[in-house]
Amino acid sequence: MVDNETVDKAIAASSLSSAAGFSEGDDTALVQASQQGHLAAFDQLIARYHQRIYATLYHMTSSHEDADDLTQESFIRAFKGLKRFKGDASFYTWVYRIAVNLTINFLKKRSRRSYHLSLNDMDLQIEHHPDLVMFVSENTPRRDLRIQELHQKLNEAMQKLSDTHRLTVTLHDIQGMSHEEISGIMDCNVGTVRSRLFYARRQLQGLLKDYLSHT
């Protein structure tokens, strides 16, 4: 049984570690407190991981509404299923797995619908990012249009991948996770992750060849 003092200590330690930098090591106390039904402790866990999970689900669905709903549902399911969490994997991997499975099931049910991205979807600072400057080299009034077009093409290409390939690319190339972490989340071996990544990239290369050949 976790008493209130322990919960307060865990939350205080979590706040300090958050202030100092990202630390996954001290999830255990927060998870144990959450398992006893302490919502304040679970709130800390949500604060740690919700942005990354949201981003992954957004790249999977290409819809902010869906990503929002799915992230919320993932954490609610995680809280309800915390009693079953034995600590074999990290909480981070476990909650990611819930979110990913939920999203894959959601995508199976959802009919492919059109999506529209605007410049509002991008952080304004990216306009000066060297990679974007490299891909959109024209410094003309049509530059904004080119950026928008690039983003649209990129999203369309991502949506043409299968759900598992898109997830692999999202976790590795966008979220920067290692093959081992992805294998834990996707519940498959590292070789499968590498293979999926290879085929996904080859398909993307074909879909984005215009941008790759120009630069």
């Binding site: 949500i46 604060a47 949201y54 981003a55 957004y58 790249h59 809280f79 990216i126 983003h151 966008i174």
Partner: protein, 165 residues
Amino acid sequence: MQDLNSKDQEKLRRLIALKGYEVPPPGYGNLLANRIISHLEVEQIRSQQAASSPWFKKFSLRPVLFAIQAMVMASLLWFGWQSLGSKHLPQTVDRAALVDRLELGSAWLRSEASTVRSQMNVHFDEVRGSLMGMMQASSIQPTLWTQGSFRPGLSHLNSYPVLNH
């Protein structure tokens, strides 16, 4: 398996990585943690209320569950009744004693019935006598309508009331 050109691969990696700069528009994701916690708090309160509510309210909330529980309870009662009956009833019946008891019972019933009947007759005579006395003493007499007599709406029959004393 066709190998990807390493230069193209690097370009592709950098192109895809640009997606990492996408941020949700205002309103999305910002209040997500609050919404999740609020949702969980509401669920916790509901479950606590459900746990502390009277048992009959739980039944009324779930008709199917109530029906199943009612069936279970009824079957338990039936089995209980059966088992109690088989334990407490005598296994062998003394027929002669049973006949004696039945005859005694029927004789008692017969005597009681005749007593009740005679008492009822006495009361009936008393009531009838008092009623007759009241009728004779009263100025209001009962009216007997005979066929062809006057009744409202039937004046064309040209009939009149007949008073009987």
